[in-house]
């Protein structure tokens, strides 16, 4: 069971994590806007996350914490 924690307010919605996810389960939340005015990244399907941390590896703003 993997757990991702996003520091959502620091997300700039660049989407590099979304692109990097091998399971294609990340998305930019179109219905949400963070303090910076971006659609922040979020995990669409928690149960499918394998905790590989590829998203965190590609995040330029260091906002993703990965636990397994």
């Amino acid at each position: 069971m993997a757990k991702l924690t996003f520091k959502t307010d620091n997300c700039k919605g660049c989407g590099l994590c979304v692109e990097a996810c091998p399971k294609h389960i990340l998305r930019l939340a179109q219905e949400k806007i963070n303090k910076k005015g971006h659609h922040p990244a979020e995990l669409a399907d928690e149960s499918a996350c394998i905790g590989c941390a590829t998203c965190a590896l590609m995040c330029p703003d260091c906002i993703i914490k990965v636990e397994r």
Partner: protein
């Protein structure tokens, strides 16, 4: 169990970089190397003028902001102030390292100054809004090469490692990129080695990181990473350009 989190050497503050700019990834890799080597308390970083001039706000170690291009000279002073106890790195862009600061770069390399240089090559001046850099590719459109870089008018891009590897001085030169997870892992390994070399007293280590500038390239962050693959890597091939210790080892 935490498998990934912000490294201690990187302060928990928002970065000022544009969305998708890979500076943040490279900052993190440097901080991870500092953490893993346990050297934060003795590390002094130097960031000269460029997009990363405010890197002093992001690293937890002592930091110095330097004049444009002069970081290797400042680093020389910092290192020689206490060679036993100071671990010194510079974090420089392409305009800084390969244009205005070329003399400082070449001479620090020639002296095999025992420092670690992180060189961000994104083929453009980012901070001032996207002008032609010494590493801008032929044909590349920038604010100051609006019709594409014409080598007949403004010369050819500078391939820093192809120059520096001819010198006897430098210990370690490796070109990496951070445009996908595999390359990020390789970049991390190179950056860590560049610090380890300094700890071991081996001398000048320079890691060139092919980096993206989505804003000034006029691309999405994801398209910018692909541009590195398609345009930059063919011109600036990845790999180790010099590893003196490995060469010595092989010669045995």
């Amino acid at each position: 169990m935490v498998v990934f989190d912000r490294p201690h050497a990187m302060l928990d503050v928002p970065l000022h970089y544009c969305p998708g700019c890979t500076h943040g990834i490279i900052h993190r890799l440097v901080a991870e190397a500092i953490d893993e080597l346990g050297i934060e308390g003795k590390t002094i970083g130097i960031a000269p003028v460029g997009c990363s001039v405010m890197a002093y706000d992001y690293f937890a170690c002592d930091m110095i902001e330097a004049a444009h291009g002069r970081a290797p000279a400042v680093a020389t002073g910092v290192k020689r102030a206490d060679p036993e106890n100071h671990i010194v790195f510079t974090y420089q862009g392409d305009g800084d390292l390969a244009s205005i600061g070329m003399a400082e770069t070449v001479h620090a390399a020639a002296r095999n100054e025992n420092i670690t240089v992180i060189f961000i090559n994104n083929a453009i001046y980012g901070m001032t809004g996207g002008q032609m850099a010494p590493t801008s590719l032929p044909g590349q459109v920038t604010q100051t090469s609006p019709y594409g870089r014409d080598p007949k008018l403004c010369g050819y891009p500078i391939k820093v490692f192809e120059m520096l590897s001819e010198l006897e001085g430098p210990e370690y030169l490796e070109r990496v990129t951070v445009n996908n997870a595999k390359n990020v892992r390789a970049a991390k390994k190179a950056i860590k080695k560049a610090f380890q070399n300094q700890i071991d007293g081996k001398g000048f280590s320079l890691i060139e990181v092919l980096s993206s500038c989505p804003t000034n390239w006029g691309m999405t962050p994801s398209a910018a990473l692909k541009w590195i693959d398609e345009k930059m890597i063919p011109y600036y091939p990845l790999g180790v350009y010099k590893d003196r210790s490995a060469e010595k080892e092989a010669a045995k």
